[in-house]
Amino acid sequence: MSYIKNITDGFGTAATGMKFTLKHLFSPNVTVQYPNTNPYTEISAVDKIPDRARNRLLLDPDICNGCTSCARACPVDCIEIDTVKVIANDPDQPTLSDGTKRRLWLAKYDINFAQCCFCGLCAAACPTEALKHTTVFDYCTYDVNDLLYHFSTMTPEQIAEKKKLLADEVKAKAAAAAAAKSEN
């Protein structure tokens, strides 16, 4: 008896399965033809890349105050920051967008996206919201070195000039301190 039941079960369940696959044969499909459809605008709300998506990082160098908390928060050390102190009476001392004076020149701000793990800890650590994740995800390159992004807007000459100014100031301060000492 179980022999016959097994046979009918086998055909019965196979037929049920085939009924479902036939139903799907005529149901709408869900493929997103990615390079042909824009993943930001042209697709349904489910497949759309959400605004929170943690993809390529973007730094606004005008807001960044060079505090390096992002580099310290990074678990894979993919952010490299180099800063130069702004001297007290710099001729073109800029103002940050939050109104405070800039204390550090951002000589170097490199993010290596070949290393980045997109965890979002840097953006969470940033006190000024200068570093943010964007939704841009398709930025692959043929050369791995192209994934090293330089966000600093300063030219080497400017950096050298600011460094010289700082050195001068330090020297002047040291001289002043020495003079003060000798006076004592």
Binding site: I7, A14, G17, M18, F20, T21, L22, H24, L25, F26, S27, P28, N29, V30, T31, Q33
Partner: protein, 353 residues
Amino acid sequence: METTYYIYNLIANSTTELIAAVIVAIIPLLFILPYALVAIYGELKISAFMQDKLGPMRTGPYGLLQPIAEVFKLLQKEDITPDAADKPLFNIAPVLIFVGSYAAFAVIPFSSYFAPSGLNVGIFFAMAISSLAVIAIMMGGWSSGNKFALLGAFRSVAQIVSYEIPAAMAVLGIAAMANTLNINTIIESQSGWFWNWFLFGGQGGIEKIWVIPFTVVMCVIYFISSLAECNRTPFDLVEGESELVAGYATEYSGMKYAMFYLAEYANMFVAAALITILFLGGWSSPLGDILNGPIWQLAWFVIKTMSIVFLQIWVRWTLPRIRVDQLMFVCWKVFLPISFVCFLAMALARMVQ
């Protein structure tokens, strides 16, 4: 059947018999190649739609050129022969498997006006020659020098040889009912409306109704056995991807792999054509004498056969794979006894007639 050699006679009358023979032999090949492209494309698209995706879309409009692109891809791939392989056998196997499936086309009548050969023992020939695939798979699997390939070959031999028997029982039943082994005669004895098909018990009045369940069951058995002989899911444990990587074809690449691929689709067609011939009335129109010209017969034959091919694809993308001991169980303990019973019933029906 005097019209079977219509094309052959047409050519032979204007040229020589040799040229006619060659041309008639080449016509199935001219059919297989475009058919394989259509079947590959169909399989890709049908499976994709069943899985709620689109399938190939980037080669040509709606991915129509995808099978051609795949053929070119396989053509330009490096042809690797492993060091551990037995080289002559390894190289012959893909040719042999294709020869087997191509030779079976020799007796398949596409229309009452065209069959490459109107052999008197046509159905017997088709059964015999399609078993050549076993030898080819065994050769390929064993000579690869790969353990997965060897296991695949073992399974293949066990599977194909076993499933020949229920298939042969089905053929025997039909042969008994039609009283012949000649394919054209088998088809002719199903002519008329579709209830004259052997699926529905063949010619006869209302009194044949008791034999219909047996013939339907026989048709199902033959269909499933042919799936097993073509190594299609749920019987694809010869090349079962998740277990044996690619089974007997693990070490093959490039054009040799393409030969296996082509042979699989050609085999599918042969199996479907045999079901059409044996149970669905072959080229004869289901509507009696309506739409029953030579060209219409070709159309009917291709439509019927392609429906069976669709059924094969549909089954493949629904069912999981069976295990090797269950495969043997199904063959020897389920199909064989049932096919014996059905054969007896069909023979009885012949006697009653």
